[in-house]
């Protein structure tokens, strides 16, 4: 869903990479091997379903023809809306009709699919059929993001990542490095103007720039806020990007305590830290541009690119075009990248693996157990994960292979992006995807109305989070996860 809604903003980014790349632009090593491997599947047509986003269009328009050219295996990729994609995929896998040989899996739904045994164990399948393993495909080459698609017990891969990015703290270098602004900030706060490392510092900068914009009659505010009052984007920003920076992880739900959400039962959804985090975030929302209450990830990126904010939390997939494409962005060359601001102890927890500091998002392609062409589909999945293919996608801020970091194009862009790729490589382990819950959307949708009510001010933070914890537990009881 998130990716679907972000499609608009990332369209440009992908056009930089995917749109301009053609089947002819991609040179596949070991072409003879692919040709040989395809001979066994004469007349086979693979069918995939995915959401209609630029990366998926890249798969259907560029990779599928290239794969067919090499192997003779035809690939039909059905691109549709997010809800239709999941509806079709789930019903196909549920009913066992075997229509689809590949399904797109966003990071946050993979656990639901794994719980239902919908997906083929790709690691095991390639071990059992070594003749199908492509020479240039290495499972070990995947970044830590691939761990999101591994089985909890066997550690094997059930989906091959096609895109991955982190949600980062972007700031305007031109504003932060302006001597006059630095002096004004110092005079007002007594501190040097530099990217915030704590929430207090972040608030101080946000307050300063919002006031600065007003005083100087500029369209400038102190921070972004993905605070839509009727869209899950706001729920995600709070639970996946803000609450973790206060040490509230996995949405405040504790799987070890019978999936408790309330403090009373062992959860943290309505803990003091959670309430402090939400109060802080709402105070930032009030310093953000007026469109923030209607902003999803797409609008946050465009707000930043329009030069309307001094700093903000932005999905990394947008970093490339915000920083480098002057046809869409007014802040080209002026974008700095940093880690999100944190409370004391959160970084230590993340470094030790006990916590995390932000959101690591992305998606993969999986092979349904109901597919009738599993062997041929294994070939195409590996094809998409080849280093030479992934280099093209990296140009749009998406990296899933460690080898991609060494590509000359990526290194060049890394400098323009203020070191985003380096951060992804070196500090990506501090970020984490959605929690390993098979009930992701169910809990979100059950609690979201109350969350929106908090955003509109109809419900207080304390009262609202208490209510959300109660509703989450009620929903989990209905679904049978809480006994």
């Amino acid at each position: 869903m998130k990716i679907a809604f972000r499609a608009g903003a990332s369209a440009l980014a992908l056009s930089m990479a995917a749109g301009l790349a053609t089947a002819q632009d991609i040179t596949i090593e070991d072409a003879d091997w692919w040709s040989e491997a395809g001979t066994k599947f004469d007349g086979v047509t693979l069918r995939g379903v995915t959401e209609s986003t630029p990366p998926s269009n890249f798969v259907s328009d560029v990779l599928a023809p290239k794969f067919e050219e090499l192997t003779g295996i035809r690939v039909d990729v059905e691109t549709t809306s997010w809800d239709q994609m999941y509806d079709k995929a789930i019903k196909d896998m549920e009913a066992g009709t075997g229509i689809y040989d590949m399904v797109y899996i966003e990071q946050d739904i993979v656990y639901a699919y794994l719980a239902r045994d919908f997906l083929v164990n790709i690691t095991e399948a390639l071990e059992e059929h070594p003749e199908l393993k492509a020479p240039n495909y290495e499972e070990a080459n995947f970044t830590s993001f691939a761990d999101n698609f591994r089985g909890a017990e066997d550690g094997d891969l059930y989906g091959l990542p096609m895109e991955a990015f982190i949600k980062i703290y972007l700031y305007r270098k031109d504003l932060f490095e302006d001597p006059e602004i630095q002096a004004a900030f110092k005079e007002e706060t007594g501190h040097d103007l530099k990217p915030a490392t704590t929430h207090e510092e972040y608030s101080e900068i946000a307050r300063f720039f919002t006031a600065y914009g007003e005083e100087n009659d500029m369209d400038l505010w102190g921070t972004t806020a993905q605070a839509h009052t009727g869209h899950p984007a706001s729920w995600y920003e709070y639970f996946e990007s803000v609450a973790p920076t206060y040490g509230v992880y996995d949405w405040g739900i504790n799987p070890d305590e019978n999936y408790a959400a309330s403090v009373e039962n062992g959860g943290e959804m309505n803990s003091d830290a959670a309430k402090e985090a939400l109060t802080w975030w709402l105070s930032m929302r009030d310093l953000a541009p007026p469109e923030s209450v209607q902003s999803t990830w797409t609008e946050v990126a465009t707000t930043f690119a329009a030069g309307r904010v001094a700093q903000g939390l932005v999905y990394g997939e947008n970093a490339a075009w915000i920083a480098a494409d002057d046809t869409k962005s007014r802040v080209v060359g002026n974008v700095g990248v940093a880690l999100p601001p944190l409370e004391d102890g959160v970084m230590e927890a993340a470094e030790s693996g006990e916590g995390y500091i932000g959101y690591y998002d992305g998606g993969a392609f999986g092979l349904p157990t109901t597919s009738k062409n599993q062997d041929a589909a294994l070939l195409f999945l590996q094809f998409m994960a080849l280093p030479e293919v992934q280099e093209e996608w990296a140009m749009a801020s998406r990296i899933t292979l460690t080898s991609t970091y060494d590509a000359p194009k990526v290194k060049e862009l890394d400098e323009e992006l203020g070191g985003y790729y380096s951060m992804l490589r070196d500090q990506g382990y501090l970020f984490k995807g959605a929690p390993e819950y098979p009930f992701h959307r169910q809990v979100l949708e059950a609690t979201a109305p109350t969350f929106y009510s908090i955003l509109t001010g109809d419900t207080g933070v304390d009262e609202g989070l208490d209510e959300m914890a109660r509703i989450a537990e009620e929903e989990l009881t209905t679904l049978g996860y809480r006994q």
Partner: protein
């Protein structure tokens, strides 16, 4: 006898298609509404729960709130469309310069997909970049923010619906007005009836079937509004525009709560039939009896 059998054979393909794509899904939804089914529950099987889903509906504050705002939305939207549609229809009955162009332009919203309508209105109403907040601020100093104000969001969804669907009402009423005989109007004028009297006692009764049919169509459409509102407000701010269609969408698709979502759908269908029946009884049945 022979021709009767042939008639049924000729009708068979149509009846089969209607049965497969109309009756089967309908009865499936009704059947599902008596079950609990969420593929992502611990037990993903379809479990018979009797009338539990319907019992739960009665106490579901989310559903009741959604029902409330939907009724308000339908009343304001359909009534406005009817009034504006009638005024435009009577205007189009007269000749004026540029009538053909204006009528064509006025019909354009009808051919737009609801999701596009939602996108356009989102673009026009987004604070800072939208033309509508900009003009309202410049002209009357009103700060329109549909992400913040429940009343503003509700009003904009009604206006959007009116903008999108009034042309349908206009076209239907033009067709009705054109087909009216001239005699009763001439006689009324000779008898000295005023414009208001002619409208209430001649025009309205004579076009009542067309009005009721139009109201039926718009009522049913308005009750199941999803795309436009989902795109414009997402059902917010809070639950201010979470109309029944949006509510059902969120229950069925993201929550995969198929059983409960089906129960809501059945109730909405029932309510639609009841409201349409009341309208029919109230406006047309007395005339039929006479």
């Amino acid at each position: 006898m022979h021709s009767n059998r042939l008639g049924w054979w000729l009708l068979a393909p149509t009846l089969l298609v209607l049965f497969l794509f109309g009756a089967v899904p309908f009865f499936y939804v009704v059947w599902l509404s008596f079950h609990q089914w969420n593929p992502f529950a611990v037990n993903p099987e379809i479990i018979y729960t009797g009338a539990d889903n319907f019992r739960r509906l009665v106490f579901d504050s989310g559903f009741l709130a959604s029902l409330g705002v939907t009724v308000a939305f339908v009343v304001f939207a359909v009534l406005t469309e009817l009034i504006v549609g009638y005024l435009l229809a009577t205007a189009f009955m007269k000749d004026f310069p540029g009538k053909a162009i204006f009528r064509t332009i006025h019909t354009l919203p009808l051919i737009m997909a609801p999701i596009i309508v939602g996108s356009i209105w989102k673009l026009m109403t987004t604070p800072s970049i939208g033309i509508i907040p900009h003009l309202l601020d410049e002209w009357i100093g009103y700060d329109l923010n549909i992400g913040q104000s429940a009343l503003a969001a509700f009003t904009v969804t009604v206006i959007m619906d009116v903008w999108h669907w009034t042309p349908l009402v206009t076209l239907t009423l033009i067709a009705a007005l054109v087909s009216l005989p001239a005699d009763p109007f001439e006689q009324a004028q000779i008898d000295g009836a005023g414009k208001r009297q002619i409208f209430w006692h001649i025009t309205l009764p004579m076009i009542a079937p067309a009005v009721v049919a139009t109201v039926f169509i718009r009522l049913m459409d308005a009750l199941r509004t999803v795309d436009e509102v989902l795109m414009l407000t997402g059902g917010g701010p809070g639950s201010a525009t979470r109309y029944l269609g949006v509510h059902i969408f969120k229950e069925v698709f993201p929550k995969t709560n198929y059983g409960y979502g089906s129960a809501i759908s059945v109730i909405v269908l029932y309510l639609t039939i009841v409201v349409c029946w009341l309208l029919y009884v109230g406006m047309l049945a007395p005339r039929t009896k006479k």
